[in-house]
């Protein structure tokens, strides 16, 4: 009978907590959205599955060795850990309250040395880092995965339309207003006392408005790792929703006549220009904003591999095999942050709300900027391509093209919209660099 009880007490069903049930449902919801609704399936399938794995009770896949020991260790071990951390446990209290007070000790005033000592005890007792925790450390804490994805994006990007019409860079710049307006919104929410975001967290949330998955993950891993799960989910979910979010805003801000504007055909761009461009961008980054150099450096490297034409094999790997491998690791690692304790909070709702506002403001700013440029410059600019200034390559450009075709079935804006679209990638990486410089 005792054995049966032990087995029962070790089962997932016995240890399941309400938060974990909710998170398992969230994981399943993400899988549903990815598989049936085709929302960014390449990322949401791994993220959703990772989220489910992370919330399996007792398995502790997303926990470090020490956290696992605290979570499931026997009372004797907990006492050892407490003494290693320089604290003591109330002998009257229950084991569960011991666990919470140990967690407080780890989060609180324990020195790095004490933590290391406790870690040694935990691994001595046979606890190891969870699988997802290892993925997270390797892929995201180190910053490697978002950077490699950025290299792949660089290798997939054609700067031709941008080189043919460099002024569209300003549209990409304007759309970054979404990032900073959202940052301000998050700060405002916390100063009104509705949420509690620090400036670092507000900056990480703002980056969602850049509509650039790897950049958001990179920035939040540096500035606010505790919010990474919610931020990554919001960023990718809303990127999938770009075709729903943007068109109403675009129609609202433009007249039918403006949407019908046809643009002059782009000049062809020589191969040499395309080769020189990434080098030029890299030099500017090195001169003006070294903090953006991890992101833009990898981006330029990927693009140079694509354009130089002598390393086809490397470029092909960066665009296909490598980016796919890293996407799997990155998705699972992000999923590991979908744990009940950190994800189920008012802040997550706030992030989701702010994220959609960020997209809206970015789109608005891009369209308005395009209208302004139309007034100032001689060359006609269709304001719809301003909306492509939020990065989300190539979805935002396709949306601009589609809305343009609705007004004038012979007006193909896709190539014109690709200019601001890739400008948005550069713009959001620059914005990320500024934030890291200012807050990091």
């Amino acid at each position: 009978m005792d054995k049966l009880v032990t087995l029962w007490e070790g089962s997932g069903l016995y240890n399941l907590e309400l938060g974990q049930v909710v998170m398992l449902a969230v994981g399943l919801l993400l899988l549903y959205l990815a598989i049936y609704k085709k929302f960014e399936p390449l990322l949401l399938v791994p993220i959703g599955f990772g989220g489910i794995l992370a919330n399996i009770p007792e398995a502790g896949l997303a926990l470090s060795a020490l956290e696992q020991a605290v979570e499931v260790g026997r009372p004797a071990l907990l006492e050892q850990l407490a003494s290693a951390l320089g604290g003591s446990l109330d002998s009257q209290a229950s084991v569960d309250s011991w666990r919470t007070s140990l967690e407080q000790m780890m989060a609180g005033d324990a020195t790095a040395q004490q933590i290391a000592g406790a870690k040694a005890i935990a691994s001595g007792a046979g606890y190891g880092d969870g699988m997802l925790y290892v993925f997270y450390t390797v892929a995201i804490t180190s910053g490697i995965a978002p950077l490699i994805i950025f290299m792949g994006v660089g290798a997939m990007t054609d700067f031709g339309p941008l080189l043919a019409n460099p002024r569209t860079l300003f549209l990409g710049a304007a759309a970054q207003f979404g990032i900073f307006a959202t940052l301000f919104g998050a700060v405002l929410l916390s100063s009104m006392g509705w949420m509690d975001f620090s400036l670092n967290q507000a900056a990480a949330i703002g980056i969602i408005g850049g509509a650039d998955g790897p950049t958001s993950i990179y920035v939040s891993s540096m500035l606010a790792p505790e919010l990474l799960g919610a931020i990554a989910v919001a960023a990718y979910a809303y990127m999938a929703l770009v075709p729903l979010i943007q068109p109403p805003i675009m129609r609202l801000l433009t007249t039918k006549k403006e949407r019908e504007i046809t643009m002059t055909q782009l000049r062809p761009v020589s191969k040499l220009e395309k080769i020189v461009f990434p080098v030029l961008l890299l030099i500017l980054v090195a001169l003006f904003l070294p903090d953006a150099s991890p992101l833009l450096g990898m981006f330029c490297f990927g693009n140079l591999m694509r354009e130089c034409g002598v390393v086809e094999r490397l470029s092909d790997t960066a665009q296909n095999a490598l980016i796919n491998i890293v996407t799997i690791l990155l998705g699972l690692a992000v999923g590991s942050k979908l744990m009940a304790e950190s994800f189920l909070s008012v802040e997550t709702l706030g992030i989701m709300a702010l994220g959609i506002v960020a997209f809206g403001i970015g789109t608005t700013a891009g369209v308005l900027m395009a209208k302004l440029m139309n007034v100032v410059s001689k060359m006609p600019i269709n304001p719809l391509i301003g909306a492509a200034g939020v990065s989300a390559v190539p979805m935002a450009a396709r949306v601009a093209n589609k809305v343009g075709l609705e007004s004038n079935p012979h007006n193909f804006l896709l190539m014109h919209a690709m200019g601001p679209n890739v400008a948005g990638v550069i713009g959001s990486a620059v914005a990320a660099g500024v934030m890291i410089k200012y807050l990091g």
Partner: protein, 85 residues
């Protein structure tokens, strides 16, 4: 909480960030235009022949077109002449 301070810092970061993004991309526009100009002027490879004709059709004088036409027709004539024999 020092709320006004946080707000102020948020505003500051917003202004600084937006300003910097615009300045940086402005510099990028400038240097891209310069780079493209230099390359298009100094690259005498056969590729730009097509672009130049398309980007500035009005600028190319008519006499040059006539000359090209003459050269091409001469070549075609010669080729036909040769193959017939």
């Amino acid at each position: 909480m020092q709320d006004p301070e946080l707000l102020q810092e948020g505003l500051g970061l917003m202004a600084l960030g937006m300003g910097f993004v615009f300045v940086f991309l402005g510099v990028l526009v400038f240097s891209m235009t310069l780079m493209s100009g230099v390359i298009r002027r100094f690259q005498p490879v056969p590729a730009p022949a097509a672009p130049r004709a398309r980007t500035q059709p009005a600028a190319s004088p008519a006499s040059q077109d006539d000359e090209t036409l003459a050269v091409i027709s001469a070549a075609v004539h010669r080729y036909r002449h040769k193959t017939r024999r």
